[in-house]
């Protein structure tokens, strides 16, 4: 009962947050994004939120402009950024170790400059389900 209540509260908060910011739907996925983890719409235990980008797929992209947000909070500085060491890099992976994420729905957003000052964004949602204790 208590868990049901907390999930409902989280959903309400998510809806409120979504209403307060200008969010882009997950439908327009920039071509540079190869993979997001956890996958869109997935449910389960989540340890890392990550995005894999391939800038050879995009006509223009600035690898140094990549930002990652989790539930509206910019976690870029707390994330590890790795990738190929060509210049500018052709591929990049940004990963945030998600410690103790509460059960329930979450949303993540990756954004980067895609040329001429335009900022490409991709937002997706997933659900954290904790393992039940035995």
């Amino acid at each position: 009962m208590g868990e049901t209540r907390s999930i409902a509260t989280a959903w309400i908060l998510w809806i409120l947050l979504a209403g307060c910011t200008e969010l882009v739907t997950a439908s327009e996925r920039p071509s540079a994004i190869v993979r997001v983890s956890p996958p869109e719409g997935s449910a389960g235990v989540v340890e890392v939120v990550s995005v894999e980008l391939d800038f050879t797929r995009a006509t223009q992209a600035d690898p140094s402009s990549v930002r990652l947000q989790l539930d509206g909070i910019d976690v870029t500085e707390q994330s590890s950024v790795g990738g190929s060491r060509d210049w500018p890099p052709s591929s990049l992976e940004i990963a945030y170790v998600a410690k103790d994420m509460p059960s329930g729905p979450h949303r993540a957003e990756v954004s980067f400059e895609s040329g001429q000052g335009a900022r490409a964004r991709y937002e997706w949602s997933f659900r954290v389900e904790r393992k039940t204790s035995e």
Partner: protein, 418 residues
């Protein structure tokens, strides 16, 4: 003073091959035939007419079929068999370690498999921007090199404003930066990292207790390298990603001359650094943007030919020190001596000094001190001097701070005539 051991008037195969003296070593009969280059990266190389399938092995995530253009570019620097755009080690077998992503788990899986497949040296043209901090992957590299003796060769970060990242911060790796050869074989127009048109290759050192850690270790050409691409052709590629494979190929070429080097990462490091006498900027001995200097493959091969390298394995603690090694020199000859030793990787993200601190001094023909090197935070020492007299010189390796467990120490001396 500059040294060019290969005449630039010879027909050149490609610019960087001449700049790093690969052509000279190949002409001596060493093209890496029978040796194995390891390449670790996500996904797979493309098929290419000049990356022969018969000279390729795959391991790791072998069901992965995603093509990686960057990996194809890296492979060409080492292995391209094209007559004009020839790699440094065209006879080598390339062991391709395949991961599904840049995550530590995937890259460790790929690195473990190429080392298990007996790669002579392992190229890592990827990394994380840790801005001078150790992380788990750097600790893995230190531990793996110590345990196996296989040299791992990472490309340093390309971001000029950053301190070097991971895995190049690992003590036991040979961290490679880039420079620009300006598409000419002469040395006079070479451009250092983060200078002018060379807008890449990090050189800011990790913060360390003694304040004297110096990275990168060496540099190689990294701008506009004309290499294999996914379209079965060739195109220019830029970044430290393409400097590192010059060095990986170099180390593998050396194992063809002396196969025991395949398990002596510290001796390989010492030879590469001692022979890197092509100074791009700053002090000839060691400086910020080019470390010990730009690689010279023929000079490195000359160290082996002249028997000017050694490998020592004292049992740990102070036992066996000082280690003494003699060599001869002629008055006026430029001499560079390097020792490199293994860090024992006790772990911990805050680790900033090698476990053992060795020092190096060189005594002249009359027993006088000619040169010395005693850094606190590097696990190598380097001296560079002009021999004042002709005769026998003595290098002494001193143990300033000992630690338990076996030491692995490489020694190399490079003379201007090798």
């Amino acid at each position: 003073m500059r040294f060019s051991l290969e005449g630039v008037s010879k027909p050149r195969l490609s610019v960087s091959r001449v700049v790093v003296q690969a052509g000279t070593v190949n002409a001596r009969g060493f093209t890496c035939t029978g040796r194995r280059l390891g390449v670790v990266e996500p996904n797979r190389e493309a098929s290419h007419a000049n990356l022969p399938a018969a000279q390729r092995m795959i391991c790791g995530r072998t069901t992965n079929t995603v093509i990686n253009g960057h990996k194809t570019n890296v492979a060409g620097v080492m292995q391209s068999t094209n007559v004009t755009n020839r790699g440094m080690a065209p006879g080598a077998t390339l062991i391709e370690g395949i991961g599904n992503s840049f995550s530590d788990t995937e890259m460790i899986l790929a690195a473990d498999c190429v080392i298990a497949a007996n790669a002579d040296a392992v190229n890592m043209s990827f990394g994380q921007e840790t801005n001078g901090a150790f992380n788990a992957f750097a600790r893995y590299v230190d531990a793996k090199v110590y345990a196996t003796g296989k040299l791992i060769i990472p490309a340093v970060s390309n971001i000029c404003a950053n301190r070097v990242g991971s895995p190049e911060i690992a003590f036991n790796s040979l961290a490679v930066g880039g420079f620009g050869d300006n598409n000419t074989t002469t040395f006079v127009d070479d451009v250092a990292a983060c200078t002018g048109a060379v807008t890449f290759s990090a050189f800011l050192d990790p913060i360390s207790p003694g304040g004297d850690r110096e990275e990168p270790d060496v540099v190689a050409p990294g701008r506009n390298i004309f290499t294999t691409n996914t379209a079965n052709g060739f195109s220019n590629a830029t970044g430290t990603s393409f400097a590192a494979p010059h060095v990986t190929a170099m180390v593998t070429l050396l194992t063809q001359r002396d196969p025991t080097l395949s398990f002596q990462a510290e001796r390989s490091r010492a030879i590469v650094m001692a022979s890197a006498r092509h100074n791009i900027e700053g002090a000839t001995r060691l400086s910020e943007r080019d470390g010990a200097g730009a690689i010279l493959m023929a000079a490195a091969d000359g160290i082996l030919v002249d028997g000017l390298s050694s490998y020592f394995t004292p049992p740990g603690g102070t036992t066996g020190f000082p280690i003494v090694r003699t060599f001869t020199a002629t008055a006026g000859q430029r001499i560079r001596v390097v020792i490199a030793w293994a860090h024992k990787s006790p772990g911990g993200d805050t680790l900033t000094q090698p476990t053992t601190d060795l020092d190096l001094e060189v005594l002249g023909t009359a027993g006088e001190l000619v040169a010395g090197s005693s850094s606190f935070d590097d696990n190598y020492e380097i001296v560079d001097f002009t021999a004042p007299t002709t005769g026998t010189y003595t290098a002494r390796i001193l143990n300033f701070r000992s630690s338990p467990e076996m030491e692995f120490i490489g020694f190399a001396a490079s003379r201007a005539d090798n």
